[in-house]
């Protein structure tokens, strides 16, 4: 009996997450990406400790300085330290990117799964989502933010709604093929309820494309948020959102290239890391690849 318990503990702990973790560790790109993402999260949390200057402090003696030891990323047209602003910007961009994706993913997958699994709901749900898809993206986002009021929370809600149809379509397509799999049929024949079949048999088999979409769209949603901020609906200056910094700095591209490019590189870095991590996760979570 003791042996049995030991065996169970070992197998239980290792069967799902630990095995996935072991596989993820073998993928160096994914692992490095994971560390960078953790670092970015830590930077966001400890921004006040890390930033050398106040992100909003203006100093007209030091406008548009080239990067130096005193100002590692240079200064902008108001003499604000870009390095500090990039560090604080982590907070806004990370929250916007991740919250948008998490909310839209949950909502989209929920709706898409319902549409695929219950044929009667298919047309009502998907046609309703098509309405969202038929409106030009900026117009849709502007409407939503203007109606709800312009602040960060409402911007995240608007972006989440904007990204929902994509997830819904993806989830629906995947669930439609999975629900005809024989193991789903077998599970029904053994008396499993709909909820159980969806949660244990269908969704775990559908995660791969969802993870890829999640990681691919996060960078996009940060830029979309920047667009909203640019027209004054979203993060308001002087708050240092990365996308907002790019749009404010693009006029200075020819004379002070570092001003828009350094925040831009931050978005690129975050997107890349999320992509690599997503790729690694997708492989790690698929037991067939080993």
């Amino acid at each position: 009996m003791a042996k049995k318990d030991g065996y169970q503990k070992e197998k239980l702990g290792r069967s799902q997450f630990q095995l996935a973790w072991i596989r993820l560790k073998e993928n160096k790109f994914a692992l490095v990406s994971l560390y960078i993402i953790i670092a970015i999260i830590l930077i966001a949390i400890f921004a006040p400790l890390l930033a050398p200057y106040d992100y909003a402090a203006q100093n007209y003696d030091e406008i548009l300085l080239f990067p130096s030891l005193k100002h590692p990323f240079g200064t902008d047209q108001f003499g604000r330290d870009i390095f500090s602003r990039v560090i604080y910007g982590t907070r806004y961009s990370l929250v916007i990117g991740l919250c948008t994706m998490i909310f839209s993913c949950i909502l989209g997958v929920f709706l898409g799964t319902l549409a695929a699994y219950y044929p009667k709901l298919d047309n009502p749900i998907m046609r309703f989502l098509d309405i969202f898809g038929s409106i030009p993206d900026m117009a849709l986002l502007m409407c939503l933010v203007v109606i709800m009021g312009s602040n960060m929370r409402n911007m995240i809600i608007a972006l989440a709604l904007y990204y929902t149809p994509g997830y819904a379509r993806l989830a629906r397509a995947k669930v439609l093929t999975l629900r005809n799999e024989e193991y789903v049929e077998a599970s029904i024949a053994l008396g499993a309820s709909d909820a159980r079949i969806l949660l244990t048999h269908i969704l775990p088999n559908a995660v791969a494309p969802l993870i890829v979409r999640f990681t691919m769209s996060t960078g996009g949603s940060i830029l979309e948020a920047a667009g909203l901020s640019f027209i004054g609906l979203g993060i308001q200056p002087p708050k240092p959102e990365w996308g907002l910094m790019i749009s404010q700095g693009r006029g200075f591209l020819s004379t002070n290239w570092y001003y828009p490019i350094l925040p831009g590189l931050c978005i690129v870095l975050l997107s890349y890391c999320l992509n690599y991590l997503g790729d690694g996760l997708r492989d790690a979570l698929d037991p067939r690849l080993n």
Binding site: E182, E185, A186, A189, L190, S193, T200
Partner: protein, 325 residues
């Protein structure tokens, strides 16, 4: 309906309502299965065997399929009159089903042990570890070492996957096991093993068995009674001995004629000529009429009913074969 009857299907009619036509998959079949009895259901592809089996669990895909009429009485209760939640309690618990293709019948991202555990917990109010113990026991019962609990389906061979599926089906001690062509996707050596396993476990656990197959040899080895199905109807049924020794229906004879035999030297096999009629456009009379060498005038206009010709041997034919034919 006797004391000993486990399942009784009465006048079951199942149709698939397609956009342009209506496919009559099962046309008023009736049969019973006693407790502990082994029954074989034989017929060619498209004869309605699987639809019959799915009906017993009220699993006919709807739409397009629908059970139009008939009763399915399990343990004295009508399955078709029950609510979805009540039927779910029957599935897996009273009646379990093994599917044809073991390669695709297991969830690829769950360990086999967890899949058995899931079934145990669906129907029994037990804790996680207790259910896991039971799942390990089931694995060992079907001849797979319990250590392989944490492995994934792709790490198993086809025969072993079929064993896992059997373990899943038997995890809740069902009273009736429906095996839908359990050996069709396996090679011959594994077929025998799996059949022996099913048969041995059936005896051990005292279940009834409904074996669906198109292999008459498998039925002869495994079953007490056989039902021959053609175009949605049972054309001949009876004990193995009665049917195999004294073939009455021309279709059954045709089936036997299509099997090569070791003891008789023949140049060519004698297959049944023609094709099974389109189930969305069945002829008015006997469905086998077109292909039947014994057809008489009556066959073209009237549908024959199953009639007892003694010893529980039933035949649906106006012009059955003579003794020893």
């Amino acid at each position: 309906m006797g004391e000993n009857t486990l399942l009784s299907v009465e006048d079951l009619v199942v149709k698939y309502f397609l956009r342009t036509s209506t496919c009559e998959a099962v046309n008023g079949i009736s049969f019973t299965i006693d407790k502990g009895e082994r029954v074989g259901l034989v017929g060619e592809t498209g004869a309605g065997k699987t639809t019959t089996a799915l009906s017993i669990l009220d699993l006919v895909p709807n739409p397009p399929g629908r059970i139009v009429s008939g009763k399915i009485i399990l343990n004295g209760e009508d399955v078709l009159a029950k609510s979805e939640a009540e039927v779910r309690k029957i599935r897996g618990n009273d009646v379990a089903m093994i599917f044809q293709d073991p390669m695709t019948s297991l969830n690829p991202v769950m360990t086999v042990g967890d899949q058995i555990t899931e079934v145990v917990r669906l129907h029994n109010d037990v804790g996680r570890f207790e259910a896991m113990d039971k799942a390990r026991d089931m694995l060992e019962l079907v001849g797979i070492p319990g250590e392989r609990y944490g492995e994934y389906p792709h790490q198993f061979s086809g025969g072993m996957k079929q064993r896992v599926l059997i373990a899943m089906a038997l995890a809740c001690n069902p009273k009736l096991l429906i095996a839908d062509e359990p050996t069709s996707a396996l090679d011959v050596t594994i077929q025998a093993q799996v059949l022996d396993l099913i048969n041995g476990l059936r005896e051990k656990l005292g279940m009834s068995l409904l074996l669906i197959t198109h292999d008459l040899g498998v039925v002869a080895e495994t079953c007490d009674r056989v039902m021959i199905m053609y175009a949605g109807s049972i054309v001949e049924s009876g004990t193995i001995r009665a049917v195999y020794k004294n073939i009455k229906h021309p279709y059954t004879k045709g089936l036997f004629g299509s099997i090569p035999r070791l003891d008789i030297e023949t140049e060519r096999l004698d297959p049944i000529k023609g094709m099974m009629p389109d189930p969305s456009n069945l002829p008015e009379g006997c469905a086998f009429c077109e292909r039947c060498p014994n057809a008489i005038e009556e066959c073209k206009t009237k549908r024959p009913q199953l009639e007892d010709i003694g010893d529980g041997h039933m035949v649906a034919c106006f012009n059955p074969l003579k003794e020893g034919a």
